[in-house]
């Protein structure tokens, strides 16, 4: 189990019937050079870089999935999630407030900015936010645990697994139109699916 899919690349199917034109257009944009920063401020962007490096570390990747840039684009496009909890401000404000509060927590704890803290210290701050055990003053009326779960972690995790490199990593078939699949049963796979590493 969890042996991985060495050598499997979803994008190798680019010119096969698993990719249609519309999907190529969308995926091409996804893997292109990330667009210039539009939503976060410079310091916020640095902080986001540091946070996502702990939420989803990618030491194995020569070219990490540009999560901070993807987050910036997601926020700038403003499509959001289509709702918010009554205890949360609108998503844009929630992010700005949450980032400032995480930075404040790091400074109180370690006397230095989050981005400059040691990885273990960064993790300790994030764990404290996740469990709500932080200095609430900086969070105003927002619940830190809800922010961590519903905004920070949920969106970041979603965006990471929206990238073709992550699809290849977990052996997902990826785009599948118009061809789809033929072999659907247990332990069955089509020739255009990922092969799992031998045990």
């Amino acid at each position: 189990m969890a042996r991985g899919y060495p050598g499997y690349d979803v994008l190798a199917k680019w010119r096969t019937p698993s990719f249609d034109e519309k999907t190529r257009e969308v995926v091409r944009r996804r893997i292109a050079q990330p667009p210039p920063r539009r939503f976060f401020t410079g310091p916020e962007q640095q902080l986001v870089e540091a946070i996502v490096a702990r939420l989803i570390p990618q030491p194995d990747r020569a070219e990490p999935i540009p999560l901070a840039a993807m987050l910036d684009a997601f926020m700038a496009d403003g499509r959001g999630q289509g709702y918010r909890n009554e205890a949360m401000p609108p998503l844009e404000q929630a992010w700005r407030l949450g980032l400032a509060a995480i930075e404040a927590e790091a400074r109180t704890r370690f006397g230095r900015s989050f981005a400059e803290a040691a990885p273990e210290d960064q993790d300790a701050v994030l764990r404290a936010v996740q469990s709500g055990e932080v200095d609430r003053a900086a969070w105003r009326s927002m619940d830190p645990a809800s922010f961590f779960r519903e905004a920070l972690l949920k969106i970041t995790a979603g965006l990471y697994y929206a990238h073709p490199a992550a699809w290849s990593e977990i052996g997902f078939g990826g785009p599948a139109s118009p061809r789809g699949y033929v072999r659907l049963g247990l332990d069955e796979s089509d020739p255009w699916e990922a092969r799992e590493a031998a045990p």
Binding site: A2, G82, R84, Y161, I170, F172, S189
Partner: protein
């Protein structure tokens, strides 16, 4: 032209079956009243539009969202396809706040059936008389016998693919199309069910298992919740909208209805709507609201006027109340075998045992449950939020993606007045008050979910699953404009006609007095077929403000 520019108009509408193509469409002038102005082109609205146009009425259907051409515009991509969802601002609250957005409703011609999972189940007959036959909740104003022919009509219209003999409920004929081959996650359910000695079967699905007209058979690409790019899925966009257009209805896409106008006699006289940034007004002899269980009560409440200061059709004070959801707590496990649950429609096997068994329950109501097939983005979000995993632990867990299977129920919740849709003070881009959804589970709701988690876990283990864990979630929203026999305890009668305003109708999931333990869209479409038939009869008898 972006999808946000209207495409239907000037005598034509997009042809869903041809890249870049168009079909002819009738155009109605705004100053002449049409027989029916329908708000919302989803499961309820599109079905009714086809039925009424085919009966000879003049019909204009408004939808706030785009008129998609799936062949051109639906990518095999979760993130891109978030464009299908209703993402205008909404607030969620209460003891158990419901996740909205893509979790429950769509925006566009075809409504939520564009991204639905195609599960097409009938209600258990007794649920229409839940209070008198089973002793809980309330009775519907119609019986199973009354809706049965319309279930058959809807199943035929959608060419539902399902078993020859459905294992639960009254004996009936085979489904129109043969069942789909069950995928690995479904076979896991089957294996578990057989170990536990309960019945299971291939889920009846509204995606074709053989060619049908211009719809090719399903190719099992698995992106159903993100729009079907092949048109195998029998959504309202592919089934009812072409029928409505052919029968002479007009569809106005990118047209957000903001208010229903009431004349001096207290009758509806048309709808105000915004299209291409312009405020417009369509006169109508009848108005039907079919905007989904949130937008429907919201529009009625936002249309308050001096004659109806508490909102339209709200003399009972019930508009927006009795909101129900289906709880869908999941149980997940790791398997030795490769499952690869991204293939095929997400829910290919079903067990309705606890909808039909009445013994051995410590709760009222029922639940069906199905095998699951989440795609990576959605799955990562479930793993991360339910288990709080991040860092290397998250990536580790996600590596098991192809070895994971699980079940989730469609778990009935009780209709309770305190669960509701109301207006918040905040306004949206149209200047309309945004909806606030307030929800909390009852003790019975919780007992039912605990039972489902226990039973599904047992079955998953029996099927060979290891390292079980659970998640919480909800799906469909229903109720909020319940139908009934008594104007004091309901908003509309059995025909979807509001008690207070004789030419104002409702035709969508808002009508449900109870939620039942199955997915709602087949019942919504059957109700719409019945309402269409009833309107025809009433018109013939001279009981309407118009005749076909």
């Amino acid at each position: 032209m972006t999808p946000e520019t209207p495409r239907a108009g000037d005598g034509r509408a997009p042809d869903v079956f041809t890249p870049g193509g168009f079909v002819p469409m009738t155009g109605f002038p705004e100053r002449e009243p049409v027989d029916f102005a329908i708000v919302g082109a989803g499961a309820g609205g599109a079905t009714l539009a086809a039925k009424l146009a085919e009966a000879g009425f003049s019909v204009v259907v408004f939808d706030a969202g785009p008129f998609w051409r799936p062949l051109d515009e639906f990518a095999s991509d979760e993130l891109e396809q978030q464009k299908l969802y209703w993402t205008d601002p909404r607030i969620t609250g209460g003891d158990d706040p419901i996740a909205l957005g893509g979790n429950n409703s769509g925006r566009g011609v075809g409504g939520s059936t564009i991204h639905f999972s195609m599960i097409s189940l009938r209600f258990r007959p007794e649920w229409f008389k839940a209070r008198s036959r089973l002793g809980y909740a309330v009775d519907w104003p119609i019986s199973y016998e009354e809706i049965r022919p319309y279930y058959a009509e809807a199943e035929q219209a959608l060419k539902v693919a399902g078993p020859v003999r459905y294992p639960w409920g009254p004996l009936r004929g085979p489904y129109p199309y043969r069942p789909h081959e069950v995928n690995a996650p479904g076979l896991v359910l089957g294996r578990g069910a057989e170990k536990l000695g309960v019945k299971w079967c291939a889920t009846p699905l509204a995606t074709v298992s053989a060619p049908r007209g211009k719809s090719p058979p399903c190719v099992y690409r698995g992106f159903c919740n993100f729009g079907c790019s092949t048109n195998a899925k029998q959504s309202a966009l592919v089934v009812w909208i072409p029928r409505a257009l052919k029968a002479g209805a007009e569809v106005r896409d990118m047209a957000m209805v903001t208010r229903i106008e009431i004349d001096r006699d207290g009758l509806a006289s048309g709808v105000h709507y915004v299209r291409e940034g312009e405020s417009r007004f369509q006169r109508a002899r009848n108005v039907v609201v079919a905007g989904y269980a949130i937008e429907t009560p919201r529009l009625l409440l936002n249309s308050a006027c001096p004659q109806f200061p508490d909102g339209l059709a709200n003399a009972s004070g019930l508009v927006g109340t009795h909101l129900m959801t289906h709880a869908s707590p999941g149980v997940w496990a790791t398997f030795e075998e490769e499952i690869r649950w991204y293939k095929g429609p997400p829910n290919m096997a079903v067990c309705e045992h606890w909808n039909y068994a009445d013994e051995g329950k410590d709760f009222a109501g029922g639940y069906a449950f199905m095998s699951q097939g989440p795609l990576p983005m959605a799955w990562a979000q479930t793993v991360a939020t339910s288990r709080g995993l991040w860092g290397p632990a998250l990536r580790q867990q996600m590596l098991r993606y192809n070895h994971t299977a699980g079940f989730a129920p469609v778990a009935e919740t009780e209709p309770r007045p305190q669960n509701r849709v109301e207006l918040a003070e905040e306004t949206d881009a149209y200047g309309l008050k945004i909806p606030k959804v307030v929800f909390g589970y009852s003790g019975n709701d919780r007992a039912l979910q605990r039972h489902s988690l226990r039973f599904m876990s047992e079955m998953l283990e029996a099927a060979g699953g290891r390292d079980l864990w659970t998640s919480t979630d909800t799906s469909h929203l229903l109720g909020t404009c319940r139908m009934g026999d008594d104007p004091r305890t309901s908003v509309v009668n059995a025909d979807g006609r509001t008690w207070d305003i004789a030419n104002l109708w409702i035709c969508d999931g808002s009508l449900f007095p109870t939620s039942g333990g199955v997915n709602p869209s087949l019942t919504i479409q059957a109700l719409a077929c019945r309402i269409g038939e009833r309107i025809k009869t009433l018109a013939r008898r001279g009981e309407l403000a118009c005749a076909p």
